[in-house]
């Protein structure tokens, strides 16, 4: 298997108009998992030779039972974990070979949403969203404007000054989504984002991700909630026995093998 050299910086060249825009890079799949192995305990790998290709602009559900490796797959992608073997190419760069000081630059190209929201309770909604732009060193006026737009987009216009701690679960998840999209990342990773929400709110939040996807953003949505998979006929990747099984038209389609563990 070819090995890449460690990469010192993560600088995508995909935005048209950018000085570093590369047409070739823009035409490559946004995300490629090549024969990825990962285990936390010796002899019981979570992922064993998993391969997967995700094209630019796709909305993909990742599903599977608890412990199947959904979160691991995402954590490998934003480099909270490193692969034991194999490659993960994001925008043509091997994430697994990034040097530690390049990881922040990788994460600036991702929007990540978690089941437990990961908001700072003492910060206001605006501050929680703004932090994604402040790390880029953008001027405060621009940060304020873009935070306002992002909060409007998730339906929280006017709630920016409320401390995160006083928001409802649904509102908190919307703040987390606003934080994920405010930097206009190439890819949004959602790790069980509806896990703490009631069914109706879960559908609402899913709708929010779909709106974002309609704007051209690629979304990788990990969930074990079969209801969500059934209401939306989208591509589903089922993790089974450490490998990815592709169901291109969703679990409601004829191609779905009902023997798959869900």
């Amino acid at each position: 298997m070819p090995r890449s050299e460690p990469v010192d910086r993560f600088r995508p060249m995909l935005r048209a108009g950018s000085a570093r825009f590369s047409r070739e890079a823009a035409q490559r799949p946004i995300l490629v998992f090549e024969d990825v192995f990962k285990s936390y305990e010796q002899g019981s790998p979570v992922l064993r030779g998993m391969s997967l290709v995700i094209e630019r602009g796709e909305f993909v559900f990742v599903t599977g039972p608890s412990g199947s490796g959904k979160s691991t797959l995402l954590r490998l992608l934003y480099r909270a974990e490193t692969v034991d073997d194999g490659r993960i190419l994001f925008l043509g760069r091997d994430v697994a070979r990034l040097r530690a000081d390049a990881v922040p630059f990788l994460r600036r190209n991702l929007g990540i949403v978690f089941q437990d929201f990961k908001l700072v309770p003492s910060w206001t909604a605006s501050e929680n969203v703004a932090v994604a732009l402040e790390v880029l060193g953008l001027p405060p006026r621009l940060v304020r404007a873009r935070v306002g737009e992002a909060l409007e987009r998730v339906g929280l216009g006017g709630r920016g000054d409320a401390p995160a701690a006083v928001l409802s679960g649904g509102e908190q998840q919307r703040v987390a989504v606003a934080r994920a999209i405010v930097g206009e990342p190439a890819l949004i990773l959602a790790d069980e984002p509806t896990g703490n929400l009631d069914p109706q709110l879960a559908i609402d939040v899913l709708g929010l991700f779909e709106e974002i996807h309609e704007g051209g953003t690629t979304v990788l949505f990990a969930t074990h909630d079969r209801t969500l998979l059934e209401v939306r006929p989208r591509r589903v990747v089922v993790l089974d026995d450490g490998k990815a099984i592709d169901v291109p038209n969703g679990i409601s389609s004829d191609e779905y093998d009902n023997r798959l563990p869900l």
Binding site: Y78, A80, D101, P104, F105, L106, R107, R108, I112, K118, L119, V120, P121, S122, W123, N128, V131, A132, E134, V135, L136, G137, P140, R179, G183
Partner: protein, 293 residues
């Protein structure tokens, strides 16, 4: 250069964790008070040493049998010495009266023998007269038959110099203690603060903050703690100094010849800068291992 975001996060952090920071600042102030007190003593000892090193005076004590002719001849000879600007004869009786006036205790003098205060010639010496010249003159005067002893306050200055050296050594030791205290207090505080703001650090790292971006506000907080601790110590010492000075000013002035003075501005500034630097260093050291995400 600190960004708006860094200062805002540091300010918010200090406001939200104000109890923890206040406790830390108080502990640091106590440590700095010890250092400041030692420096205050050293400052005043140095001033006294300087005062006596350039006293511009010497006392030539005469033997009991010295005649008026001996005294006049001696005075005339002394006034011809370059650097000697005045020579005043003080008889034994005059010395007794002068001393009684200074201590305001004529009754106490009654019990002293008549020869308790020898006659002397009080010399005024130019302040810029080199020590070596003065020593030469003193050595020659001691050989004269009418002279019993010569006091140039050199021994007093040497004792003060020894005290100053001791004070400087004590201050250096206290500086090491303060350094250890600052490292321990700020380090512990920042570890606690980091623990309480774990989510904040985690969020920052997940949105792509570099380690430097995450650390800066904590370093600013540590630095402010150190600086505020030193400022608090200076303020406390100043207050104590004002309270004590009112009562002991005249006694100390009479005893050592100088009025007590507070720490000079450069020393106070140095303590604050030292506090800020130590606080920042301690904070940085405690942040070596950030929350791993």
């Amino acid at each position: 250069m600190l960004s708006v975001t860094t200062t805002r996060r540091a300010r918010q952090g200090m406001v939200r964790e104000w109890r923890l920071h206040a406790l830390s600042v108080f502990s640091l102030a106590v440590a700095f008070v010890c250092l400041g007190a030692a420096l205050l003593v050293v400052t005043n000892l140095v001033a006294a040493q300087d005062r006596w090193a350039h006293a511009g005076r010497a006392s030539v004590y005469l033997k009991d049998g010295a005649s008026q002719d001996d005294v006049d001849a001696l005075r005339a000879a002394l006034l011809r010495v370059p650097g000697v600007t005045g020579a005043r004869y003080v008889s034994s009786g005059d010395a007794r009266v002068e001393f009684g006036r200074e201590i305001d205790g004529r009754d106490a003098l009654a019990g002293l023998p008549a020869d308790a205060f020898p006659a002397s010639i009080e010399l005024d010496v130019a302040p810029d007269m080199p020590d070596t010249d003065l020593h030469d003159v003193v050595a020659k005067m001691r050989l004269l038959p009418a002279v019993d002893d010569v006091e140039t306050y050199q021994s007093w200055t040497e004792r003060l110099a020894r005290l100053v050296r001791g004070g400087v050594a004590a201050s250096a030791l206290l500086a090491v203690v303060v350094l250890a205290a600052v490292l321990a207090v700020v380090g512990s505080t920042m570890r606690l603060v980091l623990q309480r703001r774990r989510t904040e650090v985690e969020v920052l790292k997940l949105v792509g903050a570099t380690d430097a971006f995450v650390k800066k506000p904590f370093v600013v907080e540590g630095s402010l703690q150190g600086a505020l601790g030193a400022v608090g110590a200076v303020a406390l010492l100043g207050l104590l100094f004002l309270m004590v000075r009112g009562r002991l000013d005249s006694e100390l002035a009479a005893l050592v010849g100088v009025e007590p003075s507070f720490l000079p501005w450069p020393v106070m500034g140095g303590m604050v800068v030292l506090g800020a630097i130590l606080g920042a260093a301690a904070s940085l050291a405690s942040l070596r291992r950030l929350v791993a995400v």
